[in-house]
């Protein structure tokens, strides 16, 4: 091929001519894959029906986006964001919810929250969370009915989530306990009891906190296993798909506030809150690692992400401890979503060459 002129390639584009190699679809698929172990645990814990819940959400999201984009003469399913939204909606459903509820949540998320604003990248709120909150307020009964894990003995006295059990229990409780875990134990909440075939895991993560960490508790399908959610996120951190700012500031602020005031409802002093219980018992891990970090609905700069994380952590604490709901992760995140444009405006980066004299 010595003749340069005849083999000339006339492909002309603007620089840069090299690329790091990332793309939107790969980011979405990575997040999906990293979420799968936690979902598998949920299905194992709550039975095959919970798999149908997840599949119904994914199918509803994909179909809704397909129909809308067809009407608009576009095709966007190849960015995989609809699948991820569906997966997250499924993960945020109680295991025994009627299938029409995740379907409605999905249609709402894709139609109203995502496509009405222009599709991927234009949604100013996390579609999955918006969908979940929409159905939570519409079908509160179904959305707060929990299924006992199959790993629990059949005579378990309750199927409430640990957070819900503590919250409602405290309303009529008088006296003093040393915190939520002791409170649960005193009321016979069967936390920490693993069936025989999971005993090796139980030895690895002993006691009640171990059970919380493993996720052997009632809850939403995908939120229960803090362990698997954390493991999945390691890959995302390594690949820099999520950065430290949001998870650390979110979890850090929340932990600090819980430690500071979380012991008060139990009649304890300040700085006696049970941080570990609150980190592991609800949807915090799923929220802080996978939902608050949604690139579209979170701030752009490092500083902005920290402000957003601090806000979400504080609001989650506020709702859980002083609000009327036992859980506050979804609401806290979508409230902070609304502040993102303001945060972005307030945290514009400093342009090179504008540093004041003497501030080197």
């Amino acid at each position: 091929m010595a003749d340069v002129n005849t083999n000339w390639s006339a492909r002309v584009t603007v620089s840069p001519h090299l690329h790091e190699g990332s793309n939107t679809a790969r980011i979405m698929i990575s997040v999906i894959l990293c979420l799968l172990p936690a979902g598998a645990w949920g299905v194992f814990l709550f039975g095959l029906y919970s798999l149908y819940v997840i599949l119904a959400s994914v199918a509803a999201c994909v179909l809704t986006e397909l129909i809308i984009t067809r009407l608009l003469g576009r095709f966007t399913l190849n960015d995989w964001s609809a699948v991820l939204t569906g997966l997250l909606i499924g993960y945020n459903m109680p295991p025994s919810v009627p299938l029409y509820i995740p379907v409605i949540a999905s249609v709402f998320a894709i139609t109203v929250v995502k496509m009405a604003f222009g599709g991927l990248g234009r949604n100013w709120m996390n579609p999955a969370l918006a969908g979940r909150v929409f159905v939570t307020f519409s079908w509160t009964g179904f959305m707060t009915t929990w299924k006992t894990p199959l790993t629990w003995s059949a005579d378990a006295v309750t199927s409430a989530t640990a957070l819900g059990f503590v919250k409602s229990g405290l309303m009529t409780f008088e006296g003093t306990v040393r915190g939520p875990v002791e409170f649960l134990a005193s009321k016979g909440y069967p936390i920490g009891k693993l069936p025989a075939f999971l005993a090796p895991l139980g030895r690895l993560f002993p006691g009640r906190y171990g059970a919380l960490f493993l996720g052997n508790i009632p809850g939403c399908i995908g939120e229960v296993s803090a362990l698997l959610l954390l493991l999945g996120s390691i890959y995302l951190f390594v690949k820099k798909i999520i950065t430290w700012e949001i998870p650390v500031s979110y979890i850090g602020t929340f932990a600090l506030m819980i430690w500071f005031l979380g012991g008060r409802p139990f009649g304890g002093a300040v700085f006696t809150g049970d941080v570990l219980f609150h980190l592991l018992a609800g949807g915090l891990m799923l929220g802080a690692l996978y939902m608050a970090t949604d690139m579209v609905s979170s701030p752009l700069t490092s500083k902005g992400m920290i402000i957003y994380g601090v806000g979400a952590g504080f609001l989650t604490f506020l709702i859980r401890i002083y609000g009327s709901f036992p859980e506050g992760v979804s609401l806290a995140i979508i409230i902070m979503n609304m502040f993102v444009p303001l945060i972005n405006r307030a945290t514009r980066p400093v342009v090179f060459g504008y540093v004041k004299e003497g501030k080197e």
């Binding site: 840069p16 990332s22 514009r348 090179f352 060459g353």
Partner: protein, 442 residues
């Protein structure tokens, strides 16, 4: 030689570290490219006004003869790079896609030059030296082609603290400066002394990235041998450290004010190629008619470093490398981060052409563009502290004044944002368009 990476100096925020592909040519010595049968010498090879044509079709020209005169200070002289006859004056497209009048010289006759006695410059007046540099058409060889005499014209009462020689060569693929530092060490250092005479700086630094350990060693050895007062500073390899503002940040910790020049912080930066051209201009009396060009890329048979006559068509150099070893995806003039894709092998090498790249099909394949997902990676990567995604959106919506207010003109088009964007949005294309439109609107 190994360096403790963390201790090495580098610039502030942002930047990227792409694979450098330099091993294709960093051990290939510079050799002379063949004299082109026809040299196409544009009159606009530099920033500023084009040179005024001094010849017409049919004129005989000698090698090194002035054929284009700078009409003012912000311009540069242009010289004939080969002897011969002017075939025509015609409009050509430069690598940038911008048209320029060019003198087409048909190669004829003999080379007269060569064997000049080195000129003793040590006792010359600095102003006289500056005049020589202007006469010989010296411009910045790093790519921006800013007329060097302007850079060297210091203001009364503001002394130059740092003269920085830019040996960073942070663009992937390029090894022209690297080879020059290895092969012309002494001449470069003599060029530095000439500049020292002009600027009388308090410190002279040469910035080199750690990925060129042999060049660092050779420079340090030669400096020690001459006991010259020059410090070679090893920098952590990071793109775009070769940008003069980022280099000054890395070396001095100071930031050139927005819209300002290095002189505003008492500094002057010149590329090693420029310093070598200054040496040739002053000591050998040779105008800027040749430069070192790295011709490389995965689609090229035998990548090489050439000393090339200005005006040599790019196609000739690719042929000289044995042509393509595979169907190239894209041909680029300059580095892969800031260079220009070429539509035509007839585009001539000019004073600012540091490399010619034949990228592979795989590297050049168009990628699906998706909407911005607000990941913020372009902001984290921007070494100038801009928000490329916001600028792009304003430009898309023709809100040029908003974009200007957010620093559009501070964008150096280094390409870091486009390199990291997972949505493959043509951010740099947007910046270029935005600047053009904003200027048009005044």
């Amino acid at each position: 030689m190994a360096y403790a990476r963390r201790t090495l100096r580098t610039f502030g925020g942002g930047g990227v570290h792409p694979h450098d592909f330099k091993s294709l040519t960093n051990e290939v010595s510079i050799r002379n490219a063949p004299i082109p049968p026809e040299a196409v010498i544009p009159l606009q090879q530099h920033m500023g006004a084009p040179a005024e044509c001094l010849v017409e079709a049919g004129d005989e020209v000698r090698e090194g003869m002035l054929i284009g005169r700078a009409p003012g200070v912000f311009s540069a002289n242009v010289h004939a790079s080969i002897p011969g006859k002017v075939k025509e004056i015609r409009e050509v497209y430069l690598a940038t896609g911008i048209p320029s009048k060019a003198v087409v010289v048909e190669f004829e006759g003999e080379f007269e030059r060569g064997g000049n006695e080195p000129m003793p410059w040590q006792d010359k007046d600095p102003r006289e030296l500056l005049g020589l540099i202007r006469e010989q058409g010296i411009v910045g060889m790093g790519g921006a082609t800013f007329p060097t005499p302007i850079k060297f014209t210091t203001r009364e009462g503001s002394p130059v603290e740092y003269f920085v020689v830019n040996g960073v060569e942070c663009e992937p693929f390029l090894t022209a400066d690297h080879r020059l530092m290895l092969e012309k060490t002494g001449s470069i250092l003599e060029g530095v002394e000439i500049v020292r005479r002009i600027l009388s700086p308090r410190h002279v630094l040469i910035g080199v990235e750690e990925n060129k350990p042999d060049a660092i060693e050779v420079l340090r050895g030669e400096i020690a041998r001459r006991s010259a007062d020059i410090e070679v500073v090893v920098l952590r390899t990071r793109y775009p450290q070769g940008d003069e503002k980022q280099l000054l940040k890395a070396l001095t910790g100071r930031e050139v004010p927005s819209g300002g020049l290095p002189l505003d912080i008492g500094s002057v930066v010149s590329n090693v190629g420029t310093v070598y051209a200054i040496y040739e201009a002053v000591v050998l009396g040779k105008p800027l008619i040749e430069r070192i060009v790295t011709v490389t890329g995965p689609a090229l048979a035998n990548p090489a470093n050439f000393k090339v006559r200005i005006g040599t068509p790019v196609g000739n150099l690719l042929e000289e490398c044995g042509g393509f070893s595979a169907k190239p995806g894209k041909i680029v003039a300059g580095g892969p981060m800031m260079g220009f894709a070429l539509a035509d092998p007839g585009v001539p090498v000019v004073k600012g052409t540091s490399g010619i790249l034949a990228l592979s099909e795989r590297q050049s394949r168009p990628v699906l563009q998706t909407p911005c997902i607000g990941c913020g990676r372009c902001i984290a990567a921007c070494p100038f502290g801009l928000s490329p995604t916001s600028l792009y959106k304003w430009i898309e919506h023709r809100e040029y004044s908003e974009a200007m207010a957010a620093g559009l003109m501070d964008c150096k088009e280094c390409g870091c944002c486009g390199y990291v964007c997972p949505a493959h949005i043509p951010l740099i294309q947007g910046m270029k368009l935005g600047k053009l439109m904003a200027r048009k609107k005044g």
